[in-house]
C-alpha cells in the first residue's frame, strides 16, 4: 500500500516549498500574536468602553437631575397653591377679627407658610409617594423626600433655615423661598420659582452625589464594568462643581426647550407629552442616542475577547490559511495530475508500483505534510501565547484546538484538490477546479467575515453573511472553541469525514481511468 521510494521522491520534489511556506506561516503567526499581544488591542477596547461608561453615567445623572427638578417644581407649585389658599383665609379672618391690615399681612403670611409646609409634609408628600408606588422607607421615597424638603429649605421658628448648613458646606449661598413669597401673586413668580428649584435641586444633587457614601455606592455598582475609583474621579463624577454644572446645564436645557415647545404646541401635543419627550431628549445616553445596532455593537465590544478573535477567526480561519492553501493546491496537483500530464508518472507505474499505492502514498504525503505544517504552527503559537501578557480567554488547550481545526479545514480542502488531481489528466483543469474551489472558499470566508457575528454590528453587513453558508471553512468555528462550547466537535467530524471521502473517491477514480503515459 505504501511506497517508500515514491514518498522519498515526493518529499524531494515538494519539500522545499513546504519548508518555505511553513516558515512564512509561522513567521506571520508569531508577528500577529506578539505584536497584537502588546496591548494595542485592549487600549482601543478600553477607550471605547470608557466612552460608553462615561456617557451612560452622565445621562443617568442628567435624568436624575430632571426628575428631581420636576418633583421639586411640582412640590413648590403645590406649596404655592396651599400658601395662597391659607393666606387668603388667614388674612380675611384676621381682618374680620379687627387686626389692622399692615399687621394682618405678615401674620397671615407666617401662618400660611407654616400651614403650606405642613401640608407638603403631611399630605402632599405621602400622596406623591403613594401615587409613585414607593414604600415609605424605601431609598426612592427618601430621595423624593430629600428633594422636596431640601428645596423648600424650611424656615424654622427661630428664623434659621433647616438646610442652610448643607448648602453652605458646598459654598452655596442660595435665595430662601420666604423671600419669594411677597411676589407670589405676580406673573413673574413662576419663573422665579423654577429658577429657585433649579438652583436648589442641582446643589442638592451635586452635594448628594459627591458625598463619600454615595460615590462608594456608585463605584460598587459600576465595578462590574471595570470602572475604578481613579476612572470615576477622572470622569469627574465625584466632584461637586462638575456635578452641579452638569445637572444645572441639563435643567436649563430642559426648561428652555420646554418653554419654547409649550409656546408652540403642535396638534395632538399635550404639555405632558412634550415634557416626557424633552426629558427623553436631554437625558438620552450615548448608547440610546446611537442607532440601536451601533449601541449593541459598542456594548458587544465591551465583552469581546479581541485577542482570541484575532488569533482564532482572523488568523487561523483566514489569513493563516492562504499560504497553506497555495501549498496544498500546488502540491496536490504536482503529486498526481502534474505527473500524469507531463508523463513522468510512467516511471512510477512501470516499476510495479500499483496505482492504489501511488494514491495512498501521495495522499499520505499531502495530508501528512499539512499536518506537520500545523504541528509547527501549534508549537509557534503556544510559544507566542506564553510570551505575551494580554487579556484573553485563549489558553494552550484552545490553541491546540484552533490548530487542529485549521488543519482539518485544510485536510478537507486538500481532499477536494486531491480528488480533482486524480480525476483530470490535465493539471490545468485539476488546478482550476480544485484550486479554484479552495480559493473561492477562502474568499467567501473573508467576505463572510464582514457579515459574521464576530464583527461588531456597527460595521457588519448582514447580506455578506450568506457567503459563510457557501464555504466549508465555516465548519471551522473558532468562536465555539473560544467560548468553550462543543459545537466545534461535530463540525470537526464533518471536515474529517468529508476529507477522507474525497481522498477515497480520488483514489478509486485514479485506479479506473486511462492514463496518457
Amino acid at each position: 500500500m505504501f511506497s517508500k521510494s515514491l514518498f522519498k521522491q515526493s518529499c524531494k520534489a515538494n519539500g522545499m516549498m513546504w519548508l518555505i511556506i511553513t516558515v512564512a506561516v509561522c513567521f506571520m503567526l508569531s508577528c500577529v500574536m506578539l505584536i497584537s499581544g502588546r496591548g494595542d488591542i485592549s487600549t482601543t477596547k478600553d477607550a471605547i468602553q470608557n466612552t460608553i461608561i462615561d456617557g451612560e453615567i452622565e445621562s443617568s445623572l442628567q435624568k436624575r437631575a430632571l426628575n428631581q427638578y420636576e418633583i421639586g417644581n411640582d412640590a413648590m407649585k403645590h406649596f404655592d397653591e396651599a400658601f395662597i389658599a391659607s393666606y387668603t383665609t388667614a388674612y380675611t379672618n384676621a381682618l374680620q377679627s379687627g387686626v389692622p391690615a399692615e399687621r394682618a399681612a405678615p401674620a397671615a403670611s407666617m401662618a400660611a407658610y407654616a400651614e403650606a409646609a405642613a401640608d407638603l409634609q403631611n399630605t402632599y408628600y405621602p400622596q406623591l409617594i403613594d401615587s409613585l408606588g414607593y414604600k415609605a422607607d424605601s431609598d426612592e421615597a427618601k430621595e423624593v423626600q430629600g428633594v422636596i424638603f431640601y428645596t423648600l429649605n424650611h424656615m424654622q421658628e427661630d428664623g434659621s433655615y433647616l438646610f442652610d448648613a448643607f448648602y453652605e458646606e458646598h459654598g452655596e449661598v442660595l435665595a430662601h423661598y420666604t423671600d419669594l413669597l411677597s411676589t407670589i401673586t405676580e406673573r413673574t413668580h413662576a419663573d422665579e420659582r423654577e429658577k429657585y428649584v433649579m438652583d436648589h435641586v442641582s446643589a442638592f444633587l451635586a452635594g448628594n452625589m459627591s458625598s463619600k457614601e454615595n460615590v462608594e455606592k456608585n463605584l460598587d455598582a459600576l465595578s462590574d464594568y471595570g470602572v475604578t475609583e481613579e476612572m470615576y474621579a477622572d470622569f469627574g463624577y465625584s466632584d461637586y462643581a462638575t456635578l452641579k454644572n452638569l445637572s444645572g446645564a441639563a435643567i436649563v436645557d430642559y426648561r428652555a426647550n420646554l418653554e419654547y415647545r409649550l409656546d408652540n404646541l403642535k396638534d395632538g401635543e399635550s404639555e405632558e407629552s412634550v415634557r416626557s419627550e424633552l426629558k427623553q431628549e436631554v437625558t438620552n445616553s450615548l448608547l440610546a442616542s446611537l442607532p440601536e445596532e451601533v449601541a449593541d455593537a459598542l456594548d458587544e465590544i465591551g465583552q469581546m475577547d479581541m485577542y482570541g478573535i484575532l488569533v482564532g477567526s482572523i488568523f487561523f480561519k483566514m489569513a493563516g490559511l492562504l499560504l497553506p492553501i497555495i501549498y496544498m493546491i500546488m502540491t496536490s496537483n504536482a503529486l498526481i495530475a502534474g505527473q500524469v500530464d507531463s508523463g513522468s508518472m510512467a516511471y512510477i507505474l512501470s516499476t510495479s508500483t500499483k496505482r492504489r499505492t501511488v494514491t495512498f502514498t501521495q495522499g499520505i504525503y499531502l495530508a501528512g505534510s499539512l499536518f506537520l505544517m500545523f504541528v509547527c504552527t501549534t508549537i509557534t503559537s503556544i510559544i507566542c501565547l506564553n510570551s505575551v501578557d494580554v487579556f484573553t480567554t485563549l489558553n494552550n488547550e484552545k490553541l491546540l484546538l484552533l490548530n487542529l481545526g485549521a488543519f482539518l479545514v485544510m485536510f478537507a480542502m486538500s481532499g477536494i484538490c486531491f480528488l480533482t488531481s486524480c480525476w483530470f489528466d490535465r493539471s490545468k483543469r485539476a488546478m482550476a477546479l480544485g484550486g479554484g474551489l479552495s480559493m473561492f472558499f477562502l474568499v467567501a470566508t473573508m467576505l463572510g467575515l464582514f457579515g459574521s457575528p464576530i464583527l461588531p454590528s456597527i460595521i457588519r453587513m448582514d447580506a455578506l453573511n450568506n457567503f459563510n453558508y457557501c464555504s466549508i471553512i465555516t465548519l471551522f468555528d473558532p468562536i465555539s472553541i473560544l467560548d468553550g462550547t462543543t459545537d466545534y466537535l461535530w463540525e470537526f467530524g464533518i471536515l474529517a469525514v468529508g476529507g477522507i471521502i474525497c481522498y477515497i473517491i480520488g483514489a478509486i477514480r485514479f485506479r479506473k481511468k486511462d492514463l496518457p503515459l
Binding site: 504536482a334 505527473q339 513522468s344 516511471y347 512501470s350 516499476t351 510495479s352 496518457p516 503515459l517
Partner: protein
C-alpha cells in the same frame, strides 16, 4: 517458443475513428518485433495498453499470460519502458532521477547503468530541466535498461538522438536482443527496424496492415538487377531474351529485370557476350515492401468503397 506479449482483438476506440482496432499480435520470447506506422496511427496507444495504462474498449492484451489492465503491476517491473514523450519527475539531476528509479526498482548494482551512461556519452549530472531532447532520451534509455528487464518496450526510442548515438543505441539494443530479451520497439523509421528486428508490424489507422519477417525482406525469393548497355544492339538483344523486365529505359539503354536466385547463373552467362556498362542490384527494403503493400491495400480499399 513461449508467447510473451499477446494481443487478441485489442481495441481502444477514442471515437472519430481514432484509436486502435482489432489488434492481433503475438511476440515470442527472445523475439524482437518492430512496430511501424505513421504519426497518430496508434503505436503509442497499443504500447500504453500493454503497460496497463489504458483500459481496452474490447479485446485483451496479455503479458506472460497476465491480463494487462488488471495485472500490469505484477509484470511491469520486468519491462524496460521508454515512453514516447519523455518527462521526468521533479528531481534536480539525471543522477538523482536514476538513483530514485533504482530505488523504485530495487536495483542495488548501478555498474550496468554506469556502463550505459559511458556508451551513450551521457552526462547524468546535468539538470533535468536543462536537458536537450537527446539527453533526455538517453537518460530514459538508461533508466529503462538499468534494471536488466526481460522485456523492452520502446516507444520511438531514437527520436532526438544524433546519428552516432543512434548507432550506439541500436548496438545496445542488438546486444540486448542477443541476450535473449524480448523487445517491442516502435518507430517511424523503417531502416532502423529493418536492421534490428526479427519481424515488423505495420499499423495503419489503428489497424495492423501487415506483419512481415525481416528475413524475408533481406533474402527475397527474387531480386531486381539494373543493367545498362554500351551498345544498342546488346540492349535490343538482351530485351529479346526471356527475362522479366520490370522497368525499361531506352534512353539510357537500361533495363531492370527481376529474377529468382537460381536464374542468376544464366543471366551472367547471357551477359558475358555483351558489352555491359554496369550491373547493380536494386536493393529491396522494408519501406519498399510496405509501400507496395500499402499501395495495393489502399487500392483494394478504394475498390471496396466503389463496390
Amino acid at each position: 517458443m513461449n508467447t510473451v506479449i499477446e494481443a487478441k482483438k485489442l481495441t481502444k476506440d477514442y471515437g472519430d475513428g481514432r484509436g486502435v482496432f482489432d489488434i492481433d499480435l503475438r511476440i515470442g520470447q527472445g523475439e524482437m518485433v518492430g512496430f511501424a506506422g505513421t504519426n497518430g496511427s496508434g503505436k503509442t496507444t497499443t504500447i500504453r495498453q500493454i503497460m496497463g495504462f489504458v483500459k481496452p474498449t474490447s479485446g485483451s492484451v496479455c503479458v506472460n499470460g497476465l491480463e494487462a489492465w488488471k495485472h500490469s503491476s505484477e509484470y511491469v517491473r520486468k519491462i524496460g519502458y521508454v515512453p514516447g514523450e519523455i518527462a521526468f519527475p521533479d528531481l534536480k539531476t539525471g543522477t538523482a532521477f536514476l538513483r530514485s528509479q533504482a530505488d523504485f526498482l530495487g536495483v542495488k548494482d548501478l555498474s550496468y547503468a554506469q556502463e550505459l551512461i559511458e556508451r551513450l556519452q551521457l552526462d547524468p549530472n546535468a539538470s533535468l530541466k536543462r536537458m536537450s531532447k537527446g539527453m533526455k532520451q538517453k537518460t530514459a534509455i538508461v533508466a529503462a535498461l538499468m534494471g536488466n528487464p526481460d522485456i523492452l518496450l520502446l516507444d520511438e526510442p531514437t527520436t532526438g538522438l544524433d546519428p552516432l548515438m543512434r548507432c550506439a543505441f541500436l548496438d545496445i539494443i542488438r546486444e540486448q536482443h542477443a541476450l535473449g530479451k524480448t523487445i517491442f520497439m516502435s518507430s517511424h523509421m523503417f531502416e532502423e527496424l529493418e536492421t534490428t528486428c526479427d519481424r515488423v508490424a505495420l499499423i495503419v489507422n489503428g489497424k495492423i496492415a501487415d506483419i512481415v519477417s525481416v528475413e524475408d525482406i533481406r533474402n527475397p525469393k527474387y531480386r531486381e538487377y539494373k543493367i545498362e548497355f554500351n551498345q544498342k544492339k546488346d540492349y535490343e538483344a538482351f530485351k529479346s531474351l526471356h527475362y522479366q523486365i520490370v522497368r525499361d529505359q531506352p534512353k539510357y539503354q537500361q533495363v531492370t529485370v527481376s529474377l529468382f536466385s537460381e536464374e542468376l547463373d544464366g543471366l551472367f552467362r547471357d551477359l558475358s557476350s555483351m558489352d555491359v556498362r554496369f550491373i547493380a542490384e536494386v536493393r529491396y527494403n522494408l519501406e519498399k515492401y510496405f509501400r507496395n503493400r500499402l499501395g495495393s491495400s489502399q487500392e483494394k480499399e478504394i475498390e471496396e468503397n466503389v463496390q
